[in-house]
């Protein structure tokens, strides 16, 4: 079952769903309080479970809502994937397949295992390299994990119940990595291709967001 958080993705979400649907049994889409009519665009589409946040709560929050829904719907494997088309759905079988092949509970997609991401800016690459060091020193995430901000992942049902992620916004990626790698869960990475376009780069994370993520993680540690 795929969980897809969507915030103001009216222009892209339908295309993404069309691409994702052949690779999963069910789609759970969480409209995160969009104001561009994303919900209206999807409400008559059958074959998907459409949920709606009354107000925008952030990608992490939407992902958690979708994950809770997927558990309630009886999903065996949950795939987290973006609604903007950055992730290539053709990589989903690789993620799911690796769960059995490598006998693990969680599989992360990595942009740094030999595959070339399409259009990744140099600044993004540099920031991710800094993020990797931050993850290692501040969060204790092992350095052998190659992608420090992987948002494309497959998780077994039993494992997902152990991953109690609560970061509402962008810091959820690091939080999930920390929860998984510092628990008894078994994990692996597989190479995936991420496709950056002018649209997704304009809407996606900016270099300054790295500081926000660090701040959110610090504040989160004091709960």
């Amino acid at each position: 079952m795929a969980v897809i958080p969507a915030y103001n993705e009216g222009a892209r979400v339908r295309g993404a769903l069309v691409e994702i649907s052949p690779f999963v049994d069910q789609l759970v889409v969480v409209d995160d309080g969009s104001v561009d009519g994303t919900f209206d665009l999807l409400k008559n589409v059958s074959g998907i479970v459409l949920l709606r946040h009354a107000v925008n709560r952030g990608q992490g929050a939407a992902l958690r809502t979708g994950t809770d829904a997927a558990i309630a719907l009886g999903a065996d494997i949950i795939v987290h994937i973006d609604a903007d088309g950055q992730h290539n759905p053709a990589d989903i079988p690789k993620l799911i397949g690796a769960l059995d092949e490598r006998n693990v509970d969680v599989v992360f997609g990595s942009r740094f295992l030999g595959t070339d991401s399409v259009g990744m800016p140099v600044t993004r690459k540099a920031l991710l390299s800094v993020a990797k060091q931050f993850n290692a020193f501040a969060l204790g995430i092992p350095r052998r994990l190659t992608d420090p901000q992987s948002g494309f992942r497959a998780i077994r049902k039993d494992a997902v119940k152990q991953i109690d992620f609560n970061q509402d916004r962008m810091a959820h990626c690091s939080e999930i990595l920390q929860l998984v790698t510092r628990s008894n869960l078994r994990w692996a990475e597989v190479p995936v291709v991420v496709r950056y376009t002018t649209d997704t780069l304009a809407k996606g994370q900016k270099p300054a967001d790295a500081l926000k993520i660090v701040w959110q993680l610090i504040i989160g540690a004091f709960h």
């Binding site: 339908r14 769903l17 069309v18 994702i20 649907s21 052949p22 049994d25 969480v30 309080g33 008559n44 589409v45 059958s46 074959g47 998907i48 479970v49 459409l50 949920l51 709606r52 946040h53 009354a54 107000v55 709560r57 952030g58 929050a61 958690r64 809502t65 809770d68 829904a69 309630a72 719907l73 609560n166 509402d168 959110q216 504040i219 989160g220 004091f222 709960h223």
Partner: protein, 133 residues
């Protein structure tokens, strides 16, 4: 005693009274009230005996007493702002839980409705795109 010392002492005495009034009214906890009391008394000591800060500053190695007071205030303000951020984050998370509960409440209904009307399509019966309207 300078006028500024009298004024500041009066303000601090008022703050102390107000703190314990609120503690009695159970608006703030007793432990909190003790924390604030220590702060007001500390401030009053500095106001009434400013030379103390100079001696303290020399011990710490800062130099002037006023500098020590400014640095101390900055640290204190940072702690207070940080605590405020943590509280705000807790409130945000509570709000998220409410929004999530609301979103998930509609889910079973949606599923039943679609099954009843046979709108839920099986994977096999999907069109090429896998989606139907």
């Amino acid at each position: 005693m300078y006028i500024i010392q009298i004024l500041l002492s009066a303000v601090l005495a008022l703050a102390l009274l107000l703190t314990w009034k609120r503690a009695k009214e159970r608006v703030i906890r007793r432990r909190e009230a003790i924390g604030w009391t220590l702060l007001w008394i500390g401030a009053a000591v500095i106001v009434l005996w400013p030379d103390l800060t100079t001696r303290l500053a020399q011990i710490v190695g800062v130099g002037r007493g006023v500098d020590l007071a400014v640095y101390g205030s900055m640290v204190l303000l940072f702690i207070l702002v940080f605590r405020l951020h943590v509280s705000l984050d807790k409130m945000e998370r509570t709000m998220t839980k409410m929004v999530r509960k609301d979103a998930l409440r509609d889910m079973p209904k949606q599923e039943v409705k679609e099954e009843d009307t046979e709108q839920v399509i099986s994977h096999e019966s999907r069109d090429e795109s896998g989606l139907q309207e």
